[in-house]
Amino acid sequence: MTAQLNPDNALMSPDGDLVVCTDASRTFGSGPSAVVAVQGTTAKVSPGARIAIAGPSGSGKSTLLHLMAGLEVPTRGQVTWPSFSTDAADRAQDIGVVFQSPSLVPALDVAENTGLPLILAGVGEQECRDRVAEALELVGVSDLAAKLPEELSGGQAQRVAVARVLALRPRLVLADEPTGQLDHATGQHLIDVLMATTTQIGAALVVTTHDRTVLERLDTHWWMHEGQLRTATTQGASA
């Protein structure tokens, strides 16, 4: 069964969409041991969207996120980015991804890690420094700027990963369980920061989570089950 979704801005022209998945599937492996992580998903993300993807572990949330980031290639169907460049490296400047697993470069300190996407985007040195300091401040890890990833706790590393995305100021933020390793209060704060900042920079936000309290903060809910996008519900924003 394929869920035909109609997210919030259904009337907007297709050109304005950030990501469009059309009957996209991703299968890992082949033969009897093949795993269908995402199956026949059709969905799109429009500018300013605030989407939470929920579902049990192993239901394909991360894989769907990776498909939308362009980091995985669909084995069937297609994923397109009408508003972004067709070049993957250029597109990376418009799409910021917070990974579920640790994703900091081990040999760079927190500030250097945070500045990496800016350097890749060709942002000037001074501006880079300012934006890094600002982003670290926002997620509350300024005091960790000179620390190495191996010296951070899992939660601290995750907040740095969020700071790295925020410093970039992309037009689409994809966050894979950003609060997964945080206590409740810090998690809520991080979601606050993500919501506020994306609003400020006019970016769309997609967050995967199985934390109800996080889910409730976002307007649109996508439910994943065994690789399939079952239902999408939209409610009034509560930010």
């Binding site: 697993s101 900091l104 470069v105």
Partner: protein
Amino acid sequence: MTITWLGGLLRRRTGRLLATAVGISLAVALIAALGTFLTTSKATMTARAVRSVAVDWQVQVQPGANPTAVRDAVTRTSGVTATESVSTTQTTGLSATAGGTTQTTGPGLVLGLTPTYRHTFPGEIRQLSGSPTGVLLAQQTAANLHVRPGDRVSIGRAGAAPAVVTVAGVVDLPQADSLFQKVGAPPQSQPSAPPDNVILLPQATFNTVMGNRSSAATPAPTTQIHVARGAPLSNDPAAAYESVTGAAHNLEAHLAGQAVVGNNLGAALQGARSDAIYAQMLFLFLGLPGAILAALLTAALASAGADRRRAEQALLRTRGLAPRKVARLAVVEALLVGTTGGILGLGIGAAAGRLAFGPSPAGSSLSTSLVWAAIAFIAGLAIATLTVLVPALRDLRGRTVADARHAVGRSRTPLWMKGGVDFILIAGALLVFWASSANNYSLVLAPEGVATISVSYWAFLGPALLWLGAAMLLWRIANLALHHGRRPLARFIRPLTGRLAPSGAASMSRQRRPLARATVLLALAISFAASTATFNATYQQQAEADAQLSNGADVTVTEPPGLRVPPAAAAGMQTVAGVRHVEPIQHRFAYVGADLQDLYGVRPASITSATALQNAYFAGGTAKTLMARLKAQPDAILVSDETVKDFQLAPGDLLNLRLQDSRTKKLQTVPFHYAGIVKEFPTAPKDSFFVANADYITKATGSNAVGAFLVDTGGTNQNAVAANLQQQLGAAATITNVTQARSQVGSSLTSVNLAGLTRLELVFAVLLAASAGGIVLAVGLAERRRSLAILSVLGARRRQLRGLALSEGLLITIGGLIGGGLIAWGLSQMLVKVLTGVFDPPPSVIAIPWGYLTVTVLAVVGALGTAAMVSARASTRPAVEELRDL
């Protein structure tokens, strides 16, 4: 359980296990092949020593003893296969009349030979012309007397009328030195040269001509029993020497003073014995570092897979396996890798040995091969234990995963660095080197007649400490440079990495530990290859110099004494195909005081076009300056060290020599001026001689007769050119070429198949260097792959990723090449100095094998470049997958 686990291990980690096994196999192969080299060369030395001797023992019957009884006793001695008795007596002089003039010689020796002598000892007498039976005249005697086979010669007898005999043949006595030795006398009281005048008579003729003592003034003939031995000898020269010497002493004791044994075989083995020790030294100096290096590389390889192994161990423990059982699995893994590597290595070693030394090298008996195989195999197991088992056990002892992954962070300075151990080691190396290059040092001391050989094993310390100390110093420097040189580093890698340069520099700076380790490893491999090659090249250069020195030039035409060939004859030889230059050299004899020495007359301006003069041949100036001095000053003369000491000469001093004037045949005094010291010279003997201007000698003696022509062929075709020259010049001239000399020179190590060793070593060294290049990038590969994957998902382009990986590789390559080059330079200097005894003549300059070094550098750069590109292609695997794994 073990089996299942082993199966899984084989499936999951095939590549890594195989690579570790290959690393071990290199060490095993090196040890096995070099062991084969050692046994082979020792056997070659023994065989050569035995072959070089024509008569094994010369048993001198003492006055008053009964020769027949002694001979019977000797014949019955075990190990003796044949005996011949030889009578010797003196003649007051020989004379012959030919073409109306009579030539007379000074006193000489008359030998009486049994009819079977030449059959029993074929190497003692070489037929030059005439019949092999009857009265034989030594070549020089025949030349002095101007006689040919068929001519008559009268033998002067003290107190009796001369006896006249008809010469049947002219012979050469190649072993004259030992044939005419004073049996039982110490080396210093042996005659300095064999007698000039020798006539050989059949025993019956000897008895009738020399046998009856007409007066008391006639010395009684002496008898020697010449002995051929057939007792099997050990392949090891030292053991062979001991058994032969022991047997000789035994015979002397048995004969109770009736005879003294002249042990020619023992004397030959004596020389081989110290050469064998040198071969052993070479094995240690050149082979051990290679094996150690292979072990280090294996360790690096194994540690690159340590992460995964740790994860597996952790998994096994969480499944409730007792630590003891996990340890047992580690033992199984080490055994598996060690055994596979060992078997593989023995195969490679056998193949390599076969390539280097031929199918079944002399002296390679099954038992010695097995011994070396066993040693090499055990070494392989030891390496597996050290590189696979020990780290696994250490991890098991509770090092946490976080601890173990501490590749990046802020590390404490290691103790050795704080304590300056690197400086201490280098200072120690220099100290040992200084001591070992002091005057009286000699690596191998094999006193004559003494069974024990002393080896200064401590001289090994010099190169060993240098290698270790320099490696640690390089580590320190690389560490320091990476730590504090972030800015220059960023500038350096900017062309490759663009915007990412500062991040790349920061990351490399923090990963200075694995990077420094990789650089040091590479430097060690390169220094091993380079210093080995340099040592070998220098050795070849000196062996060639030795051959050139003893032959004179590529081809040498020696004119018979008495034949007066003018220098103009060179023009005729010049027309022979393949001849590039012909250089005449005069050979005369000159008295200095009462001492007769060889005198060589040269043309200083052109001599070097035909032969190479090394600076080491001279003292008081280089080859070039001394030849220039000869050229500038016609009566300048180069003399031996000894003459300088004997006559207390200072440069410019007058030195009067007495030379024979060709017109009057009288000795006349000719003034020379001392201009420098000559120790060795092409065609010159090993003892004292003079070198002066040919023109001056011609003027002083009225003769321009040439002793020898040195023929330059450009280093090729010596055999063909020699044959052509022989055809043109006829039988009178003796023509030798350097290829013969090459195979003849050397009681020294030249006899050893060093060419085989060289090939073997060089191939191994370049393999090691190349694998070092590949392996060093495998160190920290997991870390690097992860970083590149993150950069890739953040939007880095493939070009940038490749730039990062390449700049890391480039950094290691440059550090390794510079460090390795410097270490190799120091090491070569030290090796050549410490192993000086191996060289003959000692080298004045070190030969640098540029070709081989280029190949090595290319191999290293190629391997590193490939490894860098492979690691940069992490994008063959989607970057997110890389991230999921960790």
